[in-house]
């Protein structure tokens, strides 16, 4: 049981720290729209020039194939340098669509898309959730019918982040008529500029429109855009679960440590005060979240549901941290600031990607082996 970084690792850390100090933009990222796209792509392009894009991707596909300890070092330095949040409009491409293509895409798909992603030239969004199937993903009903060498898609997706500024979408559709649940789905690359697509941005409670409803009205997608086999979309969609441990979510989890340090400085709480006690507990919990993150990364073999515990802990801790931020800010919390913004955004943490309730079910049933309902 070790957490030992070699001299080479330490040198890598200093290189990363230096590069970040020289390159991290001084401005905060815009929250939405074209400005947020421009900012995120410019930052990704700069990272790519420095050799810091796709660090977890295999070298064969333009990445650096870094081992977990280097990922940890990179993201530690990343958040400590206050680099832009990893959860921007490049997140899906870098951490979900890209890895899925690497695992299941054909050579044409990979050759076309992967370089565009890494170089900061395309934005991807995810088209999984539907109005009637939020927590219950397998009940999705957007259909695709084969017509010649094309699929014709009709239906609706919702909660699609960055749909308004995305170039491509990883789209999960029902390609087998009458199929049930996980069967008969396909994972396809959808060009967001295709005729028949309508994007209706939805403003979230933080006042920002970065997700949207997407409507598909006879949208034609070439069959060559199917990733993996037709009707095998569920397996393709699940494929990245193994990769997920290695994604930029590490950076998201580590970022909370920096938040807590900032709050401790901001609060200047009297020793022994109620606020000091709450901050001490949050600091300990955030340290533990980091430890959980590393355990998920450095312990083998990983099980499919390993990430559920850390994911849920992250979500609830993030909310707790931002709630205390509002308590510390008092009247200043009412005025829009990054704290207030992040506080409001944090409400999505226990909802998006499976509600906290669903996550607890998964933990109870899949990890602890309790009977299904």
């Amino acid at each position: 049981m070790d957490l030992t970084f070699s001299p080479a690792d330490e040198a890598f850390r200093l290189t990363a720290r230096k590069w970040l100090a020289d390159n991290v933009p001084a401005d905060r990222a815009p929250y939405e729209g074209q400005a947020s796209r421009d900012f995120a792509l410019a930052w990704l392009a700069r990272c790519n020039e420095g050799g810091w894009a796709g660090i977890a991707w295999p070298e064969a596909y333009g990445g650096r194939g870094l081992p977990p300890e280097r990922l940890v070092i990179w993201y530690e330095e990343y958040v400590r340098s206050r680099a832009p949040s990893v959860l921007d409009c490049t997140f899906v491409a870098l951490n979900h669509a890209g890895p899925t293509l690497i695992a299941c895409g054909n050579e044409e798909q990979k050759a076309f898309h992967l370089p565009r992603i890494l170089s900061g030239n395309s934005v991807w969004c995810q088209g999984f959730s539907e109005p009637g199937s939020g927590s219950d993903l397998a009940s999705l009903s957007t259909t695709a019918v084969i017509d010649g060498d094309e699929l014709v898609v009709n239906g609706q997706k919702i909660w699609t982040s960055y749909a308004d500024i995305a170039d491509y979408q990883e789209l999960l559709v029902r390609t087998e008529k009458g199929s049930k649940r996980h069967q008969g789905l396909s994972w396809v690359i959808c060009d967001m500029k295709a005729p028949g697509i309508t994007v209706r941005p939805i403003r979230n409670m933080a006042g920002v429109s970065h997700f949207a409803e997407v409507f598909y009205d006879d949208v034609r997608i070439p069959l060559t855009n199917v990733v993996g086999a037709l009707n095998d979309g569920w397996r393709v969609a699940m494929t990245t679960l193994g990769f997920e441990r290695k994604t930029a979510a590490i950076g998201l989890q580590l970022e909370l440590s920096v938040r807590v340090e900032d709050l401790i400085l901001l609060a200047q709480a009297q020793p022994g005060s109620a606020m000091a006690e709450r901050l001490a507990e949050l600091r300990a919990e955030t340290a533990a979240l980091r430890a959980m993150t590393y355990r998920t990364l450095f312990r083998q073999p990983a099980t499919t549901f390993d990430g559920s515990l850390v994911r849920l802990r992250f979500a609830e801790l993030s909310q707790a941290i931002h709630q205390i931020a509002m308590d510390i800010l008092g009247p200043d919390g009412l005025v829009d600031s990054h704290w207030t913004h992040d506080y409001l955004e944090a409400y999505s943490e226990t909802i998006a990607g499976g509600t906290a309730e669903i996550q607890r079910n998964i933990i109870a049933e899949r990890i602890l082996g309790l009977p299904r309902e």
């Binding site: 939805i202 008092g330 009247p331 005025v335 829009d336 207030t340 226990t350 909802i351 509600t355 309730e357």
Partner: protein, 323 residues
Amino acid sequence: MACDLNQNDEQRQILDAATALLEESFPVSRSLGDDQERIDKLAEFGAFALALDDDLGGTGFTLVEEVLLHVRFGRHIVPAGALAAPVAARIAAELGDNDLAREIATGQIAVSAGILAGDRLRTLDDTKAKLALVFDRRRLELVEIANADGETATGLGQGAELTEFPFVATTRIGASNSASILNVADLLVSAQLLGIAEAARDLAVSYAGMRRQFGKPIGAFQAIKHHCANMAISAEMLSAQLDMAAIAQRDSRDDAAFQTAAARLLAPRVALANARLCIQVHGGIGFSAEADAHRFLKQAHLLRQLGGGAAMLDLASPMAPHR
């Protein structure tokens, strides 16, 4: 007069009338701003004078009815000015300016609710008010802002419209730290927070009964059920305490300060907790600006800045053991 916690006919009538007005004029999902016209309707209704002395426009109701009315206001996210007005009228009267008190109580002069942030006064509603009632810990100050240069700003993720004034640019009218006025202010704030908590509970229960996932209403799942039950327990707790405190203050009972402090301490916690659970029960739509869940959360954040801060442990409990 005995022990009876039912609402009587008169109370039900005034509350029913108010609810009708609120449902027409203050739909929860209305957009921000332009509330002055609506506020004027509340003044016409007599909402701000309800419990004042007859010569100030009072209509014979008491603080208890006023508190119940503000629970309804909370359910409809009525701007905080509607809470500032009746408190400001009381302060004007205390200062001996009955004319001003009447003008405030009848809505001829509008009052904003404000808080201090450093050397700036921040009002929490965008009514074009002439006056602001400044909540400054255990002290309330009435100032004129009509001639001060205000800068508007949005807050809480486009969920609030604030106006900031250099506090020195305002004209001081007078202040109060009288226990009874502070208690009234704390009761009205608590009442509105209770309204939020109740409305959040009702919205969540209604959604849980309707929204289906996995082939049944999500309200059939224990996790959702228990969230709703928790909201109900919290709201009931605060509601009972608020009644207790309002009666104590109306009747000038010895424990009025204690009961009021307890209600005011619990109110923001209950309102925030229920608003949070309401968002969570709604899932994705709850996080969007399209459902009303977030509005309750934001109004709770605004209201909790107003008043409070009584030293709960320094007040004598009516249930202290003998000896």
